[in-house]
Amino acid sequence: MRKEMCTVVQNKEIAHSVYELTLSGQMAGEMDEPGQFVHIRVSDNLDPLLRRPISIAAINKDKQEYTIIFRKQGRGTSLLAEKRPGEKVDVLGPLGNGFPTGEARSGDTALLVGGGIGVPPLYELAKQLVDRGIKVISVLGFQTASAVFYEEEFSRMGETYIATADGTYGRKGFVTSILDEADIQADILYSCGPTPMLRALEAGMFAPKSFLSLEERMSCGIGACFACVCPTKNGHEGDYRKVCSDGPVFRAGEVAI
């Protein structure tokens, strides 16, 4: 973890209101696990005040670069969308614990399920899994055709299915519609996306081991403020995990979602 002024290498809109931003900085060298995130100060003034957490979507250690993908939404992400090459951005990272790639063995099949803006961290995950000889199947859900991104990138890593909620592209419906139909056999499931999606996957019907990446409103991002806790499901009253520093990725069943 470090705080660093990273330099914008490239920033482009890759789908409707979805931006792919590549930054360069020494912290790229510390990014070990896919699924970790960075905490970004989008302006050097009061407006907005807090940092914004965004997952790391791709890491290029050779070039000391990393990429994030985000949806332009409120003030913070709107300002981030305006960053131009050469500009400096104050980043704290890498933060949290990502997807445990070591839980999959060479020859295993890994099922990656992503919803909307939960798709990005799965990309670096897919790359690392494929590098380690694991077969990757990706099931990605989006709102609508114009929101779809990275289909080609995922396709290069393995079988890739797309669903859109309005049916304007791929299978109409949610990722679960695809999963229910496609009869996918996987040894391990990794997922990131909206809470209802994660809940549907939590039961473990699609793979014996599942890892889910959670979102929660944060302030510090490093485990100091207790903003982002969620209770565990181990039956110990009052037991909890911090999404920012214990997560954002948890084994399915570890925490209540």
Binding site: K3, I222, G238, Y240
Partner: protein
Amino acid sequence: MSLLHIDLPGLSLKNPVMPASGCFGFGKEFSQLFDLSVLGAIMVKATTPEPRFGNPTPRVAETPGGMLNAIGLQNPGLEKVMAEELPRLENYDVPIIANVAGSTEEDYVHVAQEISKAPNVHALELNISCPNVKTGGIAFGTDPEMARRLTRKVKEVSQVPVYVKLSPNVTNIVSIAKAVQEGGADGLTMINTLLGMRLDLQTAKPILANVTGGLSGAAVKPVALRMIYEVSQQVDLPIIGMGGIQSAQDVIEFFYAGASAVAVGTQNFIDPFVCPAIIEELPELVAELGYSHISECTGRSWKRNEKLAYHRA
């Protein structure tokens, strides 16, 4: 001696800058970023007799120039704080100010009695101003009689000086300050958060699961300054000031208003290096403004000039 050294009841501070309670946990995370020994002191997270989970999430919301929190005093409980958190902080050369909270008078007394025995706890901060818990907290901080009584009880059992943390959500903060002085407080810390709220445009519901939360950050600075200005003139206790501090300039402004030391809260989330950065900048700023010691700035806005002339180089 350094122009930043400050002596307060129980506290010999190498500099008057410390992280505020709840904004620094028990220091563990920040210790990965910098050497905690550079800090004047550390105000650790509120401790209650038993572990507390706190409020449901979302617990934070952003506001213009500030933020709301409704953590609800989540903490691992007295036993674990004594056994794990405080001993870990002994690795650093820094006095700890333990933030004491509870639901009942007995809770406060119990925590105060025990935690004040920890070797590195040099002072207590009685949190009678947390707006985010159903019982205790702010109830003690808005009623002078309750505040006085609680302070007295805690003073009876504490091994170290007791600072009382005041709530800004009152009509007359001076009356509360006077009450805790009568109760035997050794110092004041102020301000805790202002009660506030945000609503979600889409759902029409409060953003915080707890509905309301405590407002902190730059937005509250003028309110904090005003209250410190009022209280420091009416009460004869040192004040550790806080509320929106972001820079060395802000620190001086708090001193001018009447503070003898300061704490930085919310800004730690925005810049985790803010405390060491301010500590590094302060000596030059103090000198630039023409003071030979930062203590000359305390209450300078209201102290008579003759007295001040004496302090000047």
